[in-house]
């Protein structure tokens, strides 16, 4: 049995409200709220980046387990906003964590599913006994061009997962992936802000890929949405996960606990996984969880997880922690994001 042994998360303290951004650009906040389903988003401070947030989340993930230095022989860092274009963040993290040097390190990129693709790789490395444990870290300080609609949603955060084959709290029952060449969102070398295809990011991109990865997995496992306690879908905004879950047949009750996007925004690689963190705070042993990520470009990884008895020892307090927040204005937001 392979699965998640422990997990950690990091949400920066700062928040900016949608109405603050809308006010700057002369938009009615109610229109933004109704079209994107977002009230506020988390913003990393000026001295934080994807690497510092990754260190925070992975430290939390490892705080509840006792491992020897050489138990972790694989570490993956998935991000759209790595600190370096050339120079791995995964090795920096491993060094700070004191992991023995006999490990495979890899920085992965595939838009918002850079880390969930790495979960499939890491689970396979554990299954093949390449390593007894593997770390997968998702972390982003997502930025957007000022006045781009993305500015309302792109946020900051990190989630880390320790995978293994002993003492697992979340069994990986099955996984599936669906990919195609669909250029809906991109950022070229040397370009500061990402570009996107507007509504093209919806139907032929997000919805098409998740529909395929999810339907394929459900069909192969002979399961239906009503078999699951929770459904979790990538959250580029508040509307898309609601729409895809309805299309697939999940109920509002099944997905509501995962919808942290309304108050935290879209932390890109950490977005769907932050939904998982939210669900794990309330999930019970034997609950089945359906999870589907989405990465522009494009692809979707779908997973079926089963909660084990070990959740009781590994559960992390989430909702209370993210209530520790400080609101900033637009000027400070620009400063924190180094957009000035």
């Amino acid at each position: 049995m392979v699965g998640i042994v422990s997990y950690g998360f990091y949400v920066p303290q700062y928040r900016i409200k949608v109405e603050e951004i809308a006010g700057v650009w002369g938009k009615e906040p109610i229109h933004v709220l109704s079209s994107l389903g977002i009230e506020e988003k988390a913003v990393a401070a000026i001295d934080e980046d994807s690497l510092t947030m990754a260190f925070e989340s992975v430290s939390m993930a490892l705080s509840s387990v006792k491992l020897k230095k050489d138990d972790i022989r694989a570490i993956f860092f998935g991000s759209e906003t790595p600190p370096y274009v050339v120079n791995p963040a995964s090795t920096i993290l491993a060094e700070f964590l004191g992991i023995d040097h006999h490990y495979l390190a890899s920085d992965t990129q595939f838009a918002c599913k850079a880390a969930t693709g790495a979960i499939i790789t890491a689970a396979s490395l554990v299954s093949s006994q390449f390593t007894s444990n593997a770390l997968v870290i998702a972390s982003d300080k997502a930025n957007a061009k000022p006045h781009d609609p993305l500015e309302y949603t792109a946020s900051s955060g990190s989630v880390s997962l320790l995978l293994g084959n002993k003492n697992i709290m979340l069994e990986i029952v099955a996984m599936s992936s669906f990919s195609s060449d669909t250029p809906d969102f991109w950022r070229r070398e040397g370009i500061r802000y990402p570009s996107h295809g507007g509504r093209f990011t919806g139907k032929p991109s997000y919805f098409y890929h998740i529909q395929n990865s999810a339907s394929d997995l459900l069909k192969k496992q002979h399961l239906k949405p009503s078999d699951f306690a929770y459904g979790i879908f990538h959250m580029p905004n508040g509307r898309f996960p609601r729409e895809i879950s309805t299309t697939l047949g999940f109920t509002k009750k099944q997905i509501e606990p995962s919808l942290v996007v309304r108050s935290l925004g879209n932390s890109y690689t950490a977005s769907a996984l932050m939904g998982l963190v939210s669900v794990l705070e309330v999930a019970k042993p034997n609950d089945l969880i359906f999870f589907a990520s989405y990465g522009s470009g494009a692809g979707s990884d779908a997973f079926i997880f089963k909660v084990t008895q070990n959740i009781k020892d590994k559960r992390q307090e989430f909702r209370k922690k993210i209530e520790n927040k400080t609101y900033i204005d637009y000027q400070n937001y620009l400063k924190f994001m180094r957009n000035l």
């Binding site: 938009k27 009615e28 229109h31 093209f200 032929p204």
Partner: protein
């Protein structure tokens, strides 16, 4: 006499999986299938398109169409901004009148959604006065100036414009080829965000992909084989200054008035003879102006009369306007728009308009405008 003997339109909308060539091919294949004509029976093609050269670096489209269709006949590209379709139709009609017995295709197509809204808006602005472009005026801005002046002069509220959108969205809900098939309320329109005061998002036609095609002929044997045909009673083009600041009046589109007068004179019809019309509602204010400039309503009346919705399908008015959904709801793939307008009148007059069919229609009119009134085309058809 030139007759329209067939029509086909693709779906209008965000057709991401289709290129400009795909759309052209679908429309030509579709109209040939509808008319049971072979490519070899077509003597010439008139092609309306505005933006391919600017957005796609794609010109010399006549040769590309020759390749798509597999012909060596004359193919002409026509550009007159949003009136490209109407002008292509006008030239096609003239071509047949000068070459009796010929059968031609008039095709309009536009591919707009592969580009960012900024790129497309900038490309569309190429149809405006350079001086006004430099002043920062886009087409929403130009029509907003007109709307502000009109509403102020005739003491109308923004609600008057909203009724145009309300009516045309209702019509769009009856047209399976329309980009927007959703009915919207007056409240939704009034609450939609401003893009250039007093014009709101729901006062504005969208950016669209699509292609439409017509077959025109004066060949008696070809026309005889087709059961459903309509006569082209007139097709008239007028132009005016491209710059808004050079116009004498801001509450009218002079080119529309001039083209209308010529078209009605040539068709020997009165305004009251028209049962069905497709008017160029790129922004809702444009339909109000068109109702007056064509002469259906008196100048200054539109803002009050539109509230009564007498031109809405199902209200038993003497004239029904924009049953296709207009540019507002059916969509506005620029080069295709003028062809779709004439095609909609063709469908109505030949009783092929399905669930939006207006009863007992004999005469119909299509009104196609380029820019903010620099070009206007009026086409009158009859059965």
């Amino acid at each position: 006499m030139v007759s329209i003997i067939g029509y086909y339109t693709t779906q209008f909308g965000e057709l991401w999986e289709k290129s400009l060539s795909d759309l052209i091919e679908e429309s030509i294949t579709g109209v040939l299938r509808n008319t049971r004509l072979e490519v070899g029976q077509i003597d010439a093609i008139f092609f309306a398109n505005m933006l391919a050269g600017v957005l796609e670096n794609n010109l010399h489209t006549p040769s590309k169409i020759a390749e798509i269709v597999g012909v060596n006949i004359p193919v002409f590209r026509v550009e007159a901004a949003c009136a490209s379709g109407g002008v292509a139709f006008h030239l096609g009609k003239n071509y047949i009148e000068a070459n009796s017995g010929k059968t031609i295709l008039v095709v309009g197509a536009e591919k707009m959604t592969d580009h960012s809204p900024e790129e497309t808006t900038s490309a569309l602005s190429s149809a405006a006065s350079g001086e006004e472009q430099e002043a920062g005026l886009t087409f929403p801005g130009l029509y907003a100036l007109i709307a502000n002046y009109y509403l102020s002069k005739y003491h109308n509220k923004e609600e008057a414009m909203a009724y145009v959108s309300y009516k045309n969205h209702f019509h769009g809900s009856l047209n399976d080829k329309a980009q927007f098939k959703r009915k919207i309320s007056i409240e939704q329109i009034l609450q939609s965000p401003y893009i250039a005061y007093p014009i709101k998002v729901l006062d504005s036609s969208p950016i669209s992909d699509g292609a439409s095609a017509l077959v025109l002929s004066s060949n008696p044997s070809t026309i005889k084989k087709i059961k459903k045909s309509v006569a082209v009673l007139s097709s008239e083009v007028s132009t005016d200054t491209i710059s808004l600041n050079k116009r004498k009046r801001l509450d009218e589109i002079l080119a529309t008035k001039l083209a209308s007068d010529k078209a009605f004179s040539r068709a020997r019809l009165k305004r009251s003879d028209i049962d069905i019309a497709e008017l160029h509602d790129c922004f809702t204010i444009a339909e109000l102006l068109a109702m007056e400039d064509i002469g259906f309503w008196k100048k200054g009346e539109a803002g009050n009369r539109i509230n009564e919705l007498e031109t809405m399908y199902g209200n038993n008015g003497e004239l029904v306007v924009n049953t296709s959904g207009g540019l507002k709801a059916a969509g506005h793939p620029v080069g295709a728009t003028g062809i779709k307008q004439i095609g909609e009148i063709f469908l109505q007059l030949t009783e092929q308009a399905k669930n939006r069919q207006v009863k007992n229609t004999k005469f119909g009119l299509a009104h196609n405008v380029g820019g903010s009134g620099g070009t206007a085309v009026i086409t009158i058809l009859g059965v």
